[in-house]
Amino acid sequence: MGILNLLFANRSVPGINNLDVYLNNNGYKGLKRALAMEPQAVIEDVKLAGLRGRGGAGVPTGGLKWNGMPKNADKPHYIICNADEGEPGTFKDRELMLKTAFSVIEGMTIAGYATYSSVGYIYIRGEYVEPAWQIRKAIDQAYAQGYLGKNILGTGFNYDLYIHLGAGSYECGEESALMSSLMGERGNPRLKFPHAPFPVVSGLWGLPTLVNNVETYAAATWILANGGEEYAKYGTEKSKGTKIMSVSGHVAKPANYEVEMGTPLLELIELAGGVVNGRLKAVIPGGSSVPILPADKLEKVTLDYEGCGANGTLLGSGGFMVFNDLTDIVLLMKRTSEFYMHESCGKCTPCREGTRWLYKILDRITSGGGQPGDIDMLLDVCSQIDGRSYCGLGDAACWPIVAAIKSFRPEFEYWIANKRSPLGDRSVPPTPHVLNPLLSLTAA
């Protein structure tokens, strides 16, 4: 357990985003091995590795996604890399693209070969200009040296890779909204299975489409270069390999840490230099959408899908935020609810209206206008949002608030009763400068 640099092995090699340096460091070893196998054998290797999607949902990559694509080229197939990293707290895909761009591209090429696809798109959020330039550079070099384009390495495999940049929308990290955006529309999601087909059956332009996260493709590159069996040696029984955890907040050394699946949560905090400027109060281990855990509930939590799930939270994207005891949880939740309100695409009423209600209630509470019954109202609104929309953004807006009330209810009660933070002027985030007493006169 602890740090295990598989995907990050070469990130500090000078010039690793140049093709000759990449080739000298086992670059394209995975693709060469894959091209010498049958496509199905490539999928079996990924299944053997036990890789699960690293975007947040943890779907078995080989077994459900790659294996779900039709095993012929009767119709055009598409590969999409979801590089719209938007989950607050997460910055791992940024570093993977910035520092190991070729490993992402190689993984997409391997996926293309394994699933009879000849076109791939990497959808990068518009804010990520620096990482996107490194991907552009890598793709240009790959084309120039025959690792992309027609007849790759003389095998007859054709594969084109295009970059498509977003323009500011968290919702476009949701796979169906991403596909809408790629096709030139507003980033609205589509219905999920069983009401609509999976993307591997019908995705972009109604054609079979594979959508995976940046880290998943980088892991696939490692798996094909070293063998699925090697990958499966690491991690736990159901969560194989490594997870890149993006650690930030009140720690001494915020950074991305690639750790073996199953590493204890508290060990990660130590690896990141421990808590600063106070004592540990709370951790959000997997991005703002996962339930926040108080300090006294962290001892048994391990960083794998089952370990987090068994302890009331989720591994999610690995956006690991650490908060010390100067943190006002109610103000934190207000800012979190503001994020979801802004980012709701607006299509579905429970999310569009519900996220706005959650923000308005929390804004009123933290402006001195809290009323008895507000906590119940928050929980009631959450129950009216959860599971009732086309995508999970609304759910992601509720889970943090339900968890925060469960573990930090006295702080909410204090705000409502005393119209200020229990931490006074020292709180982070700070109390809003302008308190609006008029807000207490209006219903939420």
């Binding site: 000078p14 055009p76 607050p88 200009v129 552009r136 323009a167 529309e185 915020p254």
Partner: protein, 220 residues
């Protein structure tokens, strides 16, 4: 054309007249046509097309820009307007020469982001959302920019500025005043260029090809 139709582009405006003069340069048209070949349907070039338009129209998208994108892609005005109004990075109104987008989301919020915003409001004399009288700075808050390890982060044009505090942010302001880069037009140019195969040879936006050699930023 009926003047009773209103369009939700902020304050009520009359139905826009068709653009009198298209503004896409020959290079811009070539870029749009190249990008359109990446997809089986021309409509998919809508987002890149709006980025080209934002560059050609000086960093924002007036109705004429939306018209031109719609014309060139064979889409309706309302379809393209629908896309332009959905995504936060498309500017429907002009911005200052530097658009300061300070992240105030979770980690940045507990590490002083609001102190930075208040400091800038005080020093620049504007509220969030406003532009300074000299047209130099527009102050904004951003949702998570996803570089939380280097909090507090601000995006200005095509660059992330990192480890900002209320004490050091005015240094950034001084640097930006002197800089030709990190403008809304340069951001749009960088994004357009990134779509174009081979563009890493020449760079774009605020960066030359030389500056792409090694990734910038702290070793996180």
């Amino acid at each position: 054309m009926s003047s009773s139709i209103s369009i939700s582009l902020g304050p009520r405006q009359p139905l826009p007249e068709p653009a009198t003069e298209p503004r896409f340069s020959a290079e811009a048209i070539a870029e749009l046509e190249e990008i359109a070949t990446h997809y089986p349907e021309r409509k998919a070039a809508c987002l890149p097309g709006l980025w080209i338009a934002q560059r050609e129209y000086g960093g924002f998208l007036p109705p004429a820009a939306i018209h031109e994108v719609a014309d060139r892609l064979g889409l309706s005005f309302s379809e393209v307007e629908g896309v332009a109004t959905f995504y936060t990075m498309y500017n429907l109104r002009p911005r200052g020469r530097h658009h300061l987008e300070i992240c105030t989301c979770l980690t940045c919020a507990v590490l002083g982001a609001y102190d930075i915003v208040h400091k800038l409001e005080h020093e620049l004399g504007v509220s969030v959302g406003q532009t300074t009288a000299d047209g130099e700075f527009t102050l904004g808050e951003a949702e998570c920019l996803n570089f939380c390890g280097a909090a507090t982060v601000a995006q200005v044009g095509d660059h992330y500025f990192t480890n900002l505090t209320a004490d050091n942010v005015m240094n950034l302001i001084d640097e930006l005043r002197k800089s030709e880069g990190y403008t809304p037009t340069k951001l749009a140019d960088a994004i357009v260029k990134i779509h174009i195969p081979g563009s890493s040879k020449t760079g774009g936006g605020s960066r030359s090809a030389q500056q792409l050699e090694d990734p910038a930023g702290p070793m996180l």
